[in-house]
């Protein structure tokens, strides 16, 4: 495992996502209201590009005919077959215990700390004035 600086926090505002390749792996990073999450851009079902899917809400109901929208922007649907995944946990909606999208841990680090290393700064120029998204792969 190694830590990679993938973007400045300001480059990935809340509600946005960014696809990048780290150590040869396609990884999508999401900003959910200031919290960052990294998912392998490969649906565990048949390998579709998760990052290209619709980001939507959790639709739930307690009785027939009811539609309740919660957690807007925190669920992603694979563009191939519509499987839903919780961006925060990687869990699938249909089989949460068995089927998960692979997650990568993310932390936010200050530029002042990063310049000391041992982080790998892909192609991101690091400045001491900014905070950065660091992903462990």
């Amino acid at each position: 495992m190694s830590k990679h600086i993938v973007a400045a926090v300001t480059d990935l505002p809340p509600g946005s996502r960014k696809l990048m390749t780290i150590k040869g792996r396609p990884i999508a990073v999401f900003n959910l209201g200031g919290a960052f999450f990294g998912l392998l851009n490969r649906c565990p079902h048949q390998g579709g590009d998760l990052c290209a899917g619709l980001v939507t809400a959790a639709v739930t109901a307690d009785r027939p005919g009811e539609y309740r929208m919660t957690r807007q922007g925190e669920i992603i649907r694979c563009p191939w077959h519509g499987w839903e995944f919780d961006i925060r946990t990687g869990q699938s909606w249909c089989e949460p215990d068995r089927i998960q999208a692979k997650q990568y841990p993310i932390e936010i680090a200050a530029g002042t700390d990063l310049v000391k290393g041992p982080y790998i700064a892909e192609t991101i120029p690091v400045s001491v004035e900014h905070n950065y998204i660091v992903i462990e792969v």
Binding site: H45, V59, T60, H81
Partner: protein, 350 residues
């Protein structure tokens, strides 16, 4: 303690029902000269409608109590057999005529069959054409604990998950009665999704599709969420279509489940919890290996219920169960599963 979950006493003619009708209908059937309300799904002369060695001389199939006692109850050594009369009230176009015929059949079978043999139980037949009248008929008969189920035809005017039918399921759930859905159509719609077949061969084989549609309707409309205590029994539906059907339902639910968010669990979970199927016809080759594989794919040993489908012609001799069932599974389908499905059977032996 073996239970036969599907036998078919026959109604000889409307004449036997007249004493169980009110004055208006007792007069109307005579004045209009109406009889022969046998269901088009089971023409009395069709091979499927009666096994050759169970045919009666000069009488419609299943119309003799003594014959049912000898050839269905004694021959198979059953402790209980559930009578599912298939008669025109369940499919008539007129709601009120349907209600009159159904209530007469219920009173007739209680007086002429259930009173005559303590092994017999029956389903309440209802005019599903009018869910309110159907619910009233359930209320009227539910006090007689020998009625253990509500009976519906497999094809009606709409799909059974629709809220239009909820009064029936509410009444059934309230009284702890499973709802049995038996092969047989109102023929308001073509029995296939592509139009009318020309031959009985097609009509009967395609019958399992109607059951698939009803199951999908009940699951997707949220019937089992609305009525969590509801139990559905598919009667003469066949069995072996179930594994592939469940697989397709799970696969599609995973992709589009947000359109039916009340379907919180996989369709397979609802079906395995709420749905039971009788064993005739099992519609598999007489090959123990194949049968075992199908049972494994169904994924539950609690769903199947023993039945002979008497007098319908599904098997020869006493081979009512195909090879491939272990002794413990046989006990489940003949005893444990029926008693668990029909609480009123359990209470009568407690």
């Amino acid at each position: 303690m073996k239970v036969d979950c599907d036998i078919h006493p026959g109604v000889p003619s409307v004449k036997v029902l007249l004493p169980y009708m009110d004055q208006y209908w007792a007069d109307a059937f005579v004045q209009r000269g109406m009889d022969g309300f046998d269901m088009a799904s089971y023409p009395p002369g069709a091979p499927i409608s009666c096994r050759p060695d169970w045919r009666l001389e000069r009488a419609k199939p299943g119309t003799s109590l003594a014959q049912v006692q000898a050839q269905a109850l004694d021959a198979f050594g059953v402790r209980f057999a559930i009578c599912n009369p298939l008669y025109g009230g369940q499919v008539a176009v007129s709601e009120t005529m349907a209600a009159a015929l159904c209530s007469a059949v219920n009173d007739w079978i209680a007086a002429e069959w259930l009173d005559a043999d303590p092994r017999l139980r029956a389903s309440i037949v209802v005019p599903v054409q009018n869910p309110q009248l159907a619910a009233e008929e359930i209320e009227r008969k539910a006090g007689d604990r020998r009625f253990v189920q509500v009976l519906l035809p497999s094809g009606a005017e709409m799909l059974y998950g629709k809220s239009y039918y909820w009064p029936i399921f509410a009444a059934a759930e309230k009284h702890g009665l499973p709802v049995g859905i038996h092969a047989g159509l109102m023929y308001r719609h073509a029995p296939t999704s592509n139009g009318w077949p020309s031959f009985f061969l097609h009509d009967y084989v395609a019958g399992s599709q109607v059951f698939e549609d009803q199951l999908l309707s009940m699951v997707s409309e949220g019937l089992f969420v609305k009525f969590p205590g509801l139990r559905i029994v598919l009667l003469e539906s066949g069995v072996t279509w179930l594994p592939g059907f469940i697989w397709r339902a799970i696969k599609t639910w995973r992709g589009v489940r947000a359109e039916v968010p009340w379907v919180k669990r996989s369709p397979a979970a609802y079906i395995r919890e709420h749905v039971r199927l009788t064993m005739q016809p099992f519609d598999a080759p007489a090959d123990a290996g194949i049968v075992s594989q199908i049972l494994e794919e169904i994924g539950s040993d609690e769903m199947l219920l023993f039945a002979t489908d008497f007098p319908h012609w599904q098997f020869e001799g006493d081979q009512a169960v195909p090879p491939g069932f272990s002794p413990s599974l046989l006990r489940k389908i003949m005893v444990d599963n029926p008693l668990a499905t029909y609480p009123r059977l359990q209470e009568s032996i407690a």
